[in-house]
């Protein structure tokens, strides 16, 4: 991967709910085959940015370009075409609760491809094996633990062999070991399949372990403060908010009452 190819470009993007602007003037690009982190304090609009990138939230202005094609300013048909190259793992897994794991993983294949039923069953079993859920084909989502649901969600997201995988808070609600295993799985997907991966997270351990590049969104400024490699950002950033976030420092308390806070 010597030549860097820009796969995703976010240009001049503004995200708003009605009049309330969440993030404005976002501008960054993501190379093919890298793990890109969207980070920032809780409530800064990380998930909203991801929603705008995967087609769930129309941006107020600007656009996201995939391989040179604009996502929002084209018609719905081509947008669905672009979305076909994406897989998304939602925060809670978002499995269809009325279907078994096998049905969950095979639904997109059944609906969007012309594969035979036998072939679909094979692909489904393989993907479940990849996330360590072999044998759970006939379980319903509510019979599984949170971590298993998340992994099943990943199997479903991978079923269509997407070029780009989006993860919304992958380690939220997982124990440290499971979170670590998920991180390793993400790196494995990047290295072996060359998948481009976009992760929304605020877990520092994950950010430094898997992130090639990252963008920091701030709640106060309502825009991005820094783009770059997470470690470099930690050591060299001029923004106090970014440094504090990456070093896990609490803002210094100012003495508001005499005698205290000294």
């Amino acid at each position: 991967m010597s030549e860097r190819e820009k796969l995703i470009e976010v240009r001049d993007l503004t995200i708003a709910y009605g009049d309330f602007v969440v993030q404005r003037d976002l501008e960054f690009s993501i190379d093919r085959g890298e793990v890109f982190i969207i980070m920032g304090p809780s409530g800064c609009g990380k998930s909203s940015l991801m929603k705008a990138m995967i087609g769930l939230l129309q941006p107020a202005s600007g656009d996201v370009w995939y391989g040179g094609e604009p996502f929002w300013s084209c018609d719905e048909e081509s947008r669905r075409g672009l979305a076909r190259h994406m897989g998304v793992l939602f925060q809670s897994g978002a499995l269809w609760s009325s279907m078994t794991l096998a049905e969950n993983v095979s639904l997109p294949l059944r609906q969007r491809t012309a594969l035979s039923a036998a072939r679909i069953a094979e692909v489904c079993a393989w993907n479940l094996a990849l996330v360590g859920l072999s044998g759970f084909e006939d379980y319903y989502p509510n019979e599984l633990s949170g971590g298993m649901r998340k992994r099943a969600g990943l199997a479903r997201a991978m079923a269509m062999d997407p070029e780009i995988l989006f993860f919304d808070e992958p380690s939220a609600g997982l124990d440290p070991v499971s979170a670590r295993l998920l991180d390793e799985l993400i790196l494995e997907l990047r290295d072996s399949l060359g998948t481009t991966i976009v992760v929304v997270t605020h877990e520092l351990a994950s950010i430094f372990a898997i992130g090639n590049t990252a963008v920091f969104l701030d709640t106060e400024a309502r825009t991005q403060l820094a783009v770059g490699a997470p470690k470099e950002m930690r050591d060299h950033t001029e923004h106090e908010t970014v440094r504090r976030f990456l070093r896990r420092e609490a803002p210094r308390r100012e003495a508001v009452i005499d005698g205290a806070g000294a």
Binding site: A83, M86, S97, R112, R253, A260
Partner: protein, 381 residues
């Protein structure tokens, strides 16, 4: 330390240097004896207007919790607002640190929500405005459904025929018991009312006309519609609403499966197909129910009653009833699916969506039923 009464738990004393000393005594526990409230603390500053310095004495303070801190926080904030110097050294260390912590993050002015105006007039206006948005959104939803149907006709919709069969079973076959019971009883009631009145004119046999016409033209479709609104319309709203809450709809969308095709279309088609069938069945059961009453109460036999019934209804009446059933089916499916898709993000919202779906469906059934009856009458159908 023994419980201090409210009066000596909090005492204030001003010395000659304008230094106000707050003396705290006894236990200050939320679950214990009542202690002075936030207001009592704030009153102290008004009682001693010339205060320059605020100090504390907690020598005799026992156990304490939030009940003390709430008052202290209000008092120190008010003091600072009046440029009174606060000397917190007299407070326990823990209390000082917690007061500090409560101020670490400034109050976010924009985070406070202004409560919407309340009152009869305001809620009336609010409801009117909402009615307009609901109407436009419902129209948009209907339009999208039409597009989805066109996609289905062209074979481009993402649609699972197995789902259609499932919903046909759920809305059709499984509704038979309740539809049977209600339709039969409606027939019985109509006959009872009719027999009493018509017998007075010696025209008892015309009860067959009354029951047959009422059931076939109006009651079968309306009663089935109301049952289906409560049964299937509510189920649709709850199913789709829960999927919305769990991001399951988002998951469909990102996989390129339009929720309109995959969720709304099979439900709507199933209900539109099943409503006329159920309605015909309901009409039949109503006539049987009415017939049994007539046979028991009047001096007629089965043949006479059947003959009278057959003469009372014609094809127009049957078709008119069927058309109504089809329209009601569409209206119920639309209300249920629309409310489900418009559902908010909480468990409460799913409940609201379900209620709204049933109310909307029944309202629309009654309105369209009246409209259709007027149209039939005007054109003499």
């Amino acid at each position: 330390m023994d419980d201090a009464s409210a009066t000596d738990a909090l005492q204030a004393e001003m010395d000659e240097t304008q230094r106000l000393c707050i003396r705290l005594r006894g236990d200050w526990l939320l679950q214990g004896a009542e202690t002075p409230s936030r207001g009592a603390f704030l009153n102290l500053l008004d009682e001693f207007p010339g205060t320059q310095i605020l100090a504390f004495d907690s020598e005799q303070l026992g156990r304490w919790d939030a009940s003390l801190l709430i008052g202290l926080d209000a008092l120190t904030r008010a003091a600072q607002a009046r440029d009174v110097e606060v000397d917190a050294r007299g407070l326990p260390d823990g209390a000082q640190r917690l007061l500090q912590l409560a101020r670490a993050v400034a109050v976010r002015e924009d985070a406070h929500r202004t409560a919407p105006p309340s009152g009869l007039l305001a809620s009336l206006g609010d409801a009117t405005l909402r009615l307009r948005t609901t109407a436009t959104e419902l129209l948009r939803f209907t339009g999208e459904l039409v597009f989805s149907m066109l996609r289905l006709v062209r074979g481009k919709a993402v649609f699972d025929p197995r789902d259609l069969l499932l919903y046909i079973e759920q809305t059709g076959a499984r509704a038979l018991p309740i539809v049977s019971l209600i339709a039969f009883l409606v027939g019985v009631i109509l006959a009872f009312v009719g027999v009493r009145q018509l017998e007075q004119f010696g025209a008892g046999i015309y009860v067959a006309d009354l029951v047959a016409i009422a059931m076939v033209r109006e009651m079968a479709a309306i009663m089935t519609g109301i049952i289906m609104a409560g049964r299937s319309g509510a189920a649709f709203a709850a199913q789709i609403g829960t999927m919305k809450v769990n991001e399951e709809i988002d998951a469909l969308t990102t996989l390129g499966i339009p929720a309109m095709d995959y969720l709304v279309l099979p439900r709507t088609i199933a209900l539109v197909l099943m409503m006329p069938l159920l309605s015909v069945y309901a009409g039949l059961l109503g006539i049987i129910g009415g017939g049994l009453v007539a046979l028991a109460m009047l001096d007629v036999n089965v043949m006479q009653y059947m003959e009278q019934t057959r003469n009372a209804i014609d094809l127009h009446a049957v078709l008119g009833g069927l058309l109504k059933a089809v329209v009601f089916g569409g209206v119920i499916a639309l209300s249920g699916c629309y409310q489900g898709m418009a559902c908010g993000g909480s468990a409460m919202a799913v409940g609201k969506a379900t209620t709204a779906a049933v109310v909307m469906a029944i309202l629309l059934i009654v309105v369209t039923a009246s409209a259709l009856t007027v149209i039939y009458t005007v054109y003499g159908v």
